[in-house]
């Protein structure tokens, strides 16, 4: 039962106890989805899933995350769908469709809030979002960013968008927000490259200096784009400290398919799995689970998805588990590093790539 999880601090469980609780809950979810989602039942049948052989969360069949783009997967009646979340995919590609019912939505919010309060303390905080307000409206264009902002909306006491529709800094709004909250606890949230390009660079150019030393800079979306411009994470933090006085950084890894159970960055710079979810790194050669320190394909499990079979997913990211139960920050569970999206393969053969060239 999920209630059992809520009784614990989100980072309280050590490996053995967490594995026991997660396995039991994930098995129950697997049964639940099998009984309600025929495609998922076929998937389990194909793998010859045998519940009696499950010992750890790694024994639950991992479902390829891309299939949410190709199939509409629901474990509830369509009428019970409270919202449909869509996610990433570059132009022209199909997007994931995640069907969320009331129960799953509430769980997602509750868990997100529990996780975040472990970092910024109890209660909702004012939030400055480094994005344009349309990110919530134009869902097709910015699906991943929109989903991330939407996921945080309820955790914010008030939400102010720092950018104009053309992605320039809304200087007036920014100054107003800074004046009102400077020196107090609040959150600045944005995707790393937006924060760098449209927030930091702009403040630097304008010569704005503010005291955000009590604030949390929460980021997401990965580091690929910045790294390609030779901006390291350390450099990013240093520069944002210089201009805004930020001391608290809260990067996170998450995906729309497992909203709520995010992997948030601790004071030591590690992304942590909470008791509600876990990461299993798999070997590319045979998908077997890899030990701590060995990089491979990221699989995620989460006990939150109730309305769609998204509780055990094979992602298209690579990562590594850095350690378990022994982070100096004191949080129990695995802490990880995400190495980024897997590179696409350029295949030989006479498939249709010329047409793409002609478009």
């Amino acid at each position: 039962m999920i209630e059992e999880f809520h009784r614990w601090d989100p980072y309280a469980l050590e490996a053995e106890e967490k594995s026991r609780m997660l396995s039991r809950e994930l098995m129950e979810l697997t049964r639940f989805h099998r009984d309600r989602c025929p495609e998922y039942a076929n998937f389990l049948e194909m793998l010859g899933y045998d519940e009696s052989k499950v010992r750890t969360p790694a024994d639950i069949p991992f479902f390829p995350v891309r299939l949410f783009k190709e199939f509409d997967l629901l474990s509830v009646d369509r009428g019970a769908v409270f919202k449909t979340m869509t996610s990433s995919g570059t132009t022209g590609q199909r997007v994931s469709k995640i069907f969320v019912d009331k129960e799953t939505a509430m769980l997602q919010q509750k868990v997100m809030l529990r996780i975040l309060s472990s970092f910024w303390g109890k209660g909702r905080l004012p939030m400055l979002v480094v994005d344009a307000p349309s990110v919530l409206k134009d869902r097709k264009a910015f699906a991943a960013r929109g989903a991330a902002v939407m996921g945080l909306q309820f955790a914010a006491r008030e939400m102010v968008f720092a950018l104009n529709e053309d992605m320039t800094l809304n200087v007036e709004k920014f100054r107003e927000f800074a004046k009102k909250h400077q020196g107090k606890r609040f959150v600045v949230f944005g995707f790393t490259f937006l924060v760098w390009q449209h927030f930091y660079q702009e403040l630097l150019r304008l010569g704005e200096r503010v005291d955000f030393s009590q604030a949390f800079l929460m980021t997401g979306g990965g580091w690929k784009k910045l790294e390609s411009e030779a901006v390291t994470r350390a450099e990013f933090k240093k520069r944002l400290h210089e201009v805004c006085g930020f001391r608290h950084f809260l990067d996170h890894y998450g995906m729309v398919e497992q909203t709520g159970a995010i992997y948030a960055e601790c004071e030591c710079g590690h992304l942590h799995a909470s008791i509600y979810s876990d990461i299993i790194i798999r070997d590319v050669q045979d998908f077997s689970p890899l030990p701590i320190g060995k990089p491979g394909i990221v699989q995620v499990v989460s006990v939150l998805p109730r309305s769609y079979p998204g509780h055990a997913l094979l992602t298209e990211d690579e990562g590594v588990v850095l350690g378990e139960d022994d982070c100096p920050c004191g949080r129990k569970g695995k802490y990880i590093q995400i190495l980024g999206r897997m590179k696409s393969a350029e295949l030989r053969g006479c498939s249709d790539t010329y047409g793409a060239e002609f478009q």
Partner: protein, 393 residues
């Protein structure tokens, strides 16, 4: 629109040659000019240290003996070129442009090949060698060959299509759709090579009598050599016979061992294959994933239906079926089915099955290991015949 040299980058020939083509007299089929030119090209490429496996295979295919054998296969006495032939070559099989050009020259056409903008050393090597020949003893062939590149442009494709009598499109459904937006002159004909799939049929007993390593090498050439992404690469393996269990185990083990030595797989390919198998498995009951290494990904189906072939992946992703009788393969012999590769199954039986059941697919039945072989017959076209014109009477 007027063609001009700013838009076209010539690897062989020039704008003047191209502009004169509509007026250039075509050649008879298998003319001594074309045969001599190609066989000299063959000699030079076979001798060239820079030639890799694919260029060598091409060069071997166009040596004089092979061309003369092809000429004897049909009656080409009253045949000559159709006129200007425009070939749109695919972007990811480097020597394909030369294969298409070869049949076109043998048919007697003035041949224009558009190659991909993606640079390939094979393309450079073959074009450089052709240029050497045209500049020297084979100047007579100069009016008949142009190889060029251009940035995507419907107006250039239209201008080239407007002067052609034959258009040959490689590269699959999407390319065909795009190129067909350019209209053809009333008398022109078109040969389009669409997306296809291929299958293998193996008799278990016959297999068990073969060297498993030898068969693995052949099947590897059929599949992994082109990332299992060629139209002719089998994606479905159908087993016949009584000792299927034993044969299957030995077959896949041998292939896995070979792939471990020879094939470089990126992580995303492992995920892609697992995703493709799961997509099939979700779409219907009766699919069984066969656990094992990710190099050889496979799933077994309990009945053969055409939709099995919709789940395409490549990189070593196979579906398998144990058949009681050969006729069970009929549902997958759709119009998209190109090649049936066989081991221990009489090719005549497959041909008979195709003809007697009246299916729309199967243009080619070859022994396992032979799917990649170059041929003057492709996708059901006798290439030189289809590219030439017959004078009756």
């Amino acid at each position: 629109m007027e063609l001009n040299s700013n838009d076209l980058r010539f690897l062989v020939g020039d704008l003047e040659t191209l502009s004169r083509m509509p007026e250039t007299p075509v050649l008879p089929a298998f003319s001594e000019k074309a045969v001599g030119f190609l066989s000299q090209l063959s000699r030079l490429l076979l001798r060239d240290k820079r030639s890799g496996t694919d260029v060598k295979a091409y060069a071997y295919w166009i040596r004089r003996a092979s061309l003369e054998a092809a000429a004897r296969e049909g009656d080409y006495r009253n045949r000559l070129g159709r006129g200007v032939a425009l070939h749109i070559a695919p972007s990811n099989v480097p020597v394909n442009f030369a294969v298409s050009m070869t049949s076109s020259l043998l048919a007697g056409n003035c041949t224009v090949v558009r190659v991909s903008n993606k640079p390939f050393p094979q393309v450079d090597l073959i074009c450089e060698t052709i240029n050497g020949l045209l500049a020297d003893a084979w100047g007579d062939m100069r009016p008949y060959v142009c190889v060029l590149r251009y940035e995507h442009s419907p107006s250039i494709t239209q201008a080239l299509s407007a002067i052609c009598d034959l258009r040959v499109i490689w590269g699959g459904d999407h390319t065909i759709e795009t190129i067909r937006q350019a209209s053809l002159p009333p008398r022109a004909v078109e040969m389009a090579f669409a997306d296809r799939y291929s299958i293998a049929v193996i008799n278990a007993e016959a297999y068990l009598e073969c060297s498993s390593e030898d068969v693995a090498k052949k099947f590897y050439t059929d599949t992994y050599y082109t990332d299992q992404n060629a139209c002719s690469s089998p994606r479905l393996v159908v087993w016949l016979g009584d000792s299927i269990r034993q044969a299957r185990e030995r077959f896949w083990n041998a292939l896995d061992q070979l792939a471990q030595r020879e094939y470089t797989m990126k992580p995303i390919q492992a995920v892609d294959k697992y995703t493709a198998v799961c997509a099939l498995g979700m779409s219907r009951p009766g699919v069984r994933y066969v656990p094992g290494g990710a190099l050889v990904t496979r799933a077994e189906v309990d009945r053969l239906t055409a939709d099995v072939m919709d789940f395409k992946c490549g990189s070593g992703c196979f579906f398998e079926y144990e058949a009681k009788a050969l006729c069970e393969i009929v549902p997958v012999l759709t119009k998209r089915c190109q090649t049936v590769a066989t081991l221990g199954v009489d090719r005549e039986r497959i041909r008979e099955l195709v003809i007697s059941s009246g299916v729309r697919g199967v243009d080619r039945v070859v022994p396992l290991g032979g799917t990649m072989e170059l041929s003057f017959v492709w996708d059901g076209f006798k290439m030189v015949e289809s590219m030439s014109r017959y004078v009756d009477g």
